[in-house]
Subunit: 182 residues, 2 copies
Amino acid sequence: MFVSSPAVHPVEAPPPTDPVEQPRGVLMKDLPGMPGTLGGLGLGLGLRLAQFVFAGIALSVMASTDDFPSVTSFCFLVAAAILQCMWCFSLAILDIYALLVKRCLRNRWAICLFAVGDGITATLTFSAACASSGITVLIDNDLDLCSENHCVSFESATAMAFLSWFALSPSFLLNFWSMASG
Amino acid sequence: MFVSSPAVHPVEAPPPTDPVEQPRGVLMKDLPGMPGTLGGLGLGLGLRLAQFVFAGIALSVMASTDDFPSVTSFCFLVAAAILQCMWCFSLAILDIYALLVKRCLRNRWAICLFAVGDGITATLTFSAACASSGITVLIDNDLDLCSENHCVSFESATAMAFLSWFALSPSFLLNFWSMASG
């Protein structure tokens, strides 16, 4: 029997010095709420859920009108809202997993991927919201045709798309900041 | 006579270690083209001039049509193009001055100001371009009313506004990157 064999009881081994896993306390080096920290994970998860909810409301309100396919910008808004829902849902699942296993994503490539994806999604959502708001302002203020259009639905969906973009911008800026400074 | 007095000839003193003034050679620490370097100054000046020219063309083409004030989005585009022209012209003057005196702007607050101003200007220009493109697509594709509107002028002005935003985005991202990593 080889009693001198190493790692007979792996449970009692010293904790590995894994740079990915961080202690739960406040790290002086990191700003609180940055994407690499556990506090940032909670903040990021809240932002992701807000983005998902706002994009989902925009999608459902716009899709509930029967004449949105006749305007190209409204179709673009629906497509952008679907894309944003999928992106935010995936990242929210990832955040929940990271919170459950209490591991932070400090991988540089992952943060780079998140920043690029956030940037593309935010640009698409913002452009769709701006195009839709141009149309709604034209219908409502300039032509005064609200009696024969679903102005309230169009404006609500546009406002929700803007709110979704507002919630997405901090995620993008934080990820980009973390990518640049990390 | 105190011959051992220090700094009798201040002209022959060792060169000061001023962190603002950098040598003209390539610095290994800096990426070429970053806002703090002289190569970055030339790149930034070119970008500023491109932004100014594109925004000026968008402004003049849109203002040359007689019915643009009847649509709110087109008025917004004109206002955003005026703002962008003023912003880019000011920063181009600053870049030319920095190139003439061969001093780089490494001040953290200046870069922060440039990044915030670029971000606000880029967002305004992009939103105006998106709103105008929503209107032009509605007029051209969905309603087919180009015979009684200045479709070509509207579309050219929108395209120029988009090009101006394309030229503004690298400036914003470089300044933001420099702010985060500096």
